[in-house]
Homo-oligomer: 153 residues x 2
Amino acid sequence: MCQTAEVDRDLLDLPVLFLGAARALIDGIDAGVRARGFTEVRPAHGFAFALLSHGGATTVELAHHLDITKQAASQMIEDLVGRGYVERRPHPDDARARLIVLTDKGWACTRAAEEAADEILRPWADALGTERLAALRADLSRLAVPGRLRPIW
Amino acid sequence: MCQTAEVDRDLLDLPVLFLGAARALIDGIDAGVRARGFTEVRPAHGFAFALLSHGGATTVELAHHLDITKQAASQMIEDLVGRGYVERRPHPDDARARLIVLTDKGWACTRAAEEAADEILRPWADALGTERLAALRADLSRLAVPGRLRPIW
DNA sequence: TCCAGTTGGTCAGGCTACTTGACTACATAG
DNA sequence: CTATGTAGTCAAGTAGCCTGACCAACTGGA
């Protein structure tokens, strides 16, 4: 069976469309989070919170999740500790490691982000119809996209 | 008529999926471009080339396209001129402005990026089916995403 | 035709989120 | 007990962006 000889020319703007969609969502959520009073957090912090909301994580786990060095992750954590969004606890299994967990403020910020995401996505659902948006999500998740998050360039 | 009360919980990972898809495409294209011998260019340059490939542009037009300041655009152009990807020409209509155009090397790099994009998208087309991928593209383009490109954060 | 305000571009300096490299403390395998 | 590996921090450097100041050229109105 012969594979597709060439990808349809129209598809070449997919990178732009994906980047635009990602930016629209992330910027919108960021704006919503700021509007809810959390003016010190960047979008990257949101992706960090998403990891930490599942029982906490270590510095290196966060670094891996965000695809940055452990030093950079350590700096981000230091910053977030200073602003009261997370705290360092001794790790139950490893005296070298520390378990980074969300504080109440961190949880509040995470909930604000979810509300904001909901707000941004509603017009998308209205524009496309819920079933098409769900289909889009299903297709995306089938593309086996790597789970690591990182700024684009 | 009552709008959707709440967005489906599953949809909340759309930001991650979009960002992942954008990253997968952009990283893949970047790797393909490097593999073809253009090791000095960043993904942002690709988006610059995409604009310049339509008859050239001025510094401020490029700045607007990339959503950066004109100073940053000027620095990028200076860098690309030094590496031989673009050149500055006097602007036909405005003595203040300069028309930035691709050199032969710039065009070669642009073609390499298109080949790389094709290469990356083919497995996607195979995984989803061409009609489904085309539908996905159509949906995305209906979302009226802003045309300005920029790093994510 | 002149002048005021606008616009295209550069120069200079600064900021910030990252990087690499070196190091300590603790863990784990032999 | 020792050798190697891993979690985290400290220190210094860097790349790509920013703001502010400036000059030259365009534009519109009196």
